[in-house]
Amino acid sequence: MAGAESSAIAGLRRRGALDAGTATVWLVLAGAAIFLLIGCLRSTTFAGYTVQGLALGSVYGSLALALVLVYRATHVINFAQGELAMLTTYIAYQLMQWGLSYWAAFAATLAIAFALGTLLQVTLIRPVQHRSVIAVVIVTVGLFILIDGIVNWIWGADFKVLQSPFGFASFDVGGVAIPHKDVWVIGVVLVSVLLVWGLFRFTKVGLGMRAAALRPAAAALVGVRVDSMLAIGWGLAAVLGAVAGLMAEPFQFSLSPTFMQPILVYAFAAAVLGGLESPAGALVGGLAIGVTLTLIVGYEQKYIGSELQTPFAFAVLLLILLVKPTGLFGRRDVRRV
């Protein structure tokens, strides 16, 4: 009996489905899920916080995914990713000012974000990308400042409000008030992420992009235009960022030139928690950070006010880098020679 069991496990091991690290991660995640489920069943307050945390977390996850896409392709963190998302949210605001409906502006903004991301890669990143990682990082920091300046110049630093279609009504699920907004945000982010995932998984361009990110030289030899793939990658990252920006606005209740900056910090933490190279990890990391922060701030308002949320995210970041630098789903190379 025991022998049969251990041979089954050995079989799983051989196929690479199970190893100690991965098993621990899954156990921890399953434990967290059970904890949340029990909490939600026992307390409506807890359930409310959890749903809000999931909605916020999906926003963080979406921006984290944008960071991961760029990181996988070029091994560089795009520090301007959050500001880019802020800029595209302003563009959506402007389109609505000009009379477009929310969803028309939403769609147009995503298209503009794609074009903008691609354009920025071609004009600003490509000329320096072969020099050094630090050169690219400096360009992204410069881009951060540039976008900040442009937005302040065009729209000013005062708060703007997007006419969000989600409203303030709530569903009532077993005594728990779940705002329509939260459900919409989770839904929109999930659909966007699934579309991007499908693009990578099932299309030729997606395969070319994965190959270009993994081994640029070998990808070029099979005919992949590596430079174009990197530009498209930036475009897609900008689209995910735009989704994050648009979905973050209802939580902030206003739009200001700095509104994405704390979210970028949470997205960093989420991406690192997920392992920086793992798209699924970024999403799970985002949800984990969102739920944890919401629960802590919700229950410990006396001790940890919302002012301490961002430092807390930094503490998480530091802790992961110290304890498990590869994150939850960090990639390990399986390679035989």
């Binding site: 690479g16 395969l207 993994l214 030289a217 070029a220 030899l221 099979v222 992949v224 035989r336």
Partner: protein, 235 residues
């Protein structure tokens, strides 16, 4: 008759290091040509000059057209499949995804071409969902060959296929290369340290030393050459 691939006085350098000092060689359509020579002679660089992965000067003509301004992705589009040193396998992707990448520049359905590839490499069919990095070294080399072949290339550039493989696998590999050449008319330019095997599989060969062609001829001529026998064949 003009050759499918013609190099004339090709020079190449990596930064300040001059590697090729004027290589001239020709590969006839439908032939297998071996490039031999010691380490550092410029064998790999010769292949890289053809596929445009290194800066080069001189004339390189493929099917009558100059490759001077063609980069690696352009070369693939023209039908040149380059299996680089270290095989260029995408070890994180599945076997099938590697094969799909091989045919990246082809349009239309991949299925007939895949069937054909699987008839030469049956084990790949069973393992199509497996991560390529988990294949053994020999299997990965077969996958690299298969990946190059799904492109239906006009020219296959094969770099040191024997590297790190057991002799029996190397023999099997060259047998398949020869078979692809005879049955499918595949033209091959192969770089190889193992001169004995390479000359068995090839119709003609070039011997490089320090970035220059020092000897060339048909395989039979090269095998009969005393200096080759002593330096590379070891008898």
């Amino acid at each position: 008759m003009t050759a499918l691939l013609e190099l004339e006085d090709v020079e190449a350098r990596y930064g300040p290091v001059h590697v090729l000092h004027g290589i001239s060689l020709a590969v006839e359509e439908g032939s297998v040509v071996a490039v031999l020579g010691p380490n550092g002679a410029g064998k790999t660089t010769t292949l890289r000059a053809v596929s445009g992965t290194v800066r080069r000067s001189g004339s390189i003509r493929f099917a009558g057209r100059s490759l001077q301004r063609v980069g690696p992705d352009g070369a693939a589009r023209l039908g040149i499949a380059h299996v680089p040193e270290g095989r260029g396998t995408f070890s994180e992707l599945t076997v099938l995804e590697n094969l799909r990448l091989g045919a990246y520049t082809r349009r239309g359905s991949l299925q007939p071409q895949l069937e054909r590839v699987f008839s030469y490499f049956p084990f790949l069919s069973e393992r199509r969902r497996q991560q390529a990095g988990t294949l053994s070294g020999g299997e990965q080399q077969m996958l690299a060959l298969a990946r190059a072949f799904v492109l239906r290339p006009r020219l296959l550039l094969l770099d040191e296929p024997s590297l790190g493989l057991a002799p029996v696998l190397v023999a099997e590999l060259f047998r398949i290369v020869r078979e692809l050449n005879e049955k499918e008319g595949l033209t091959v330019l192969v770089v190889e340290q193992n001169a004995h095997l390479a000359l068995q599989a090839a119709d003609a060969g070039y011997v490089l030393e320090a970035g220059r062609v020092v000897l060339s001829g048909s395989s039979a001529e090269l095998r009969a050459d005393d200096s080759i026998r002593r330096s590379y064949l070891g008898y």
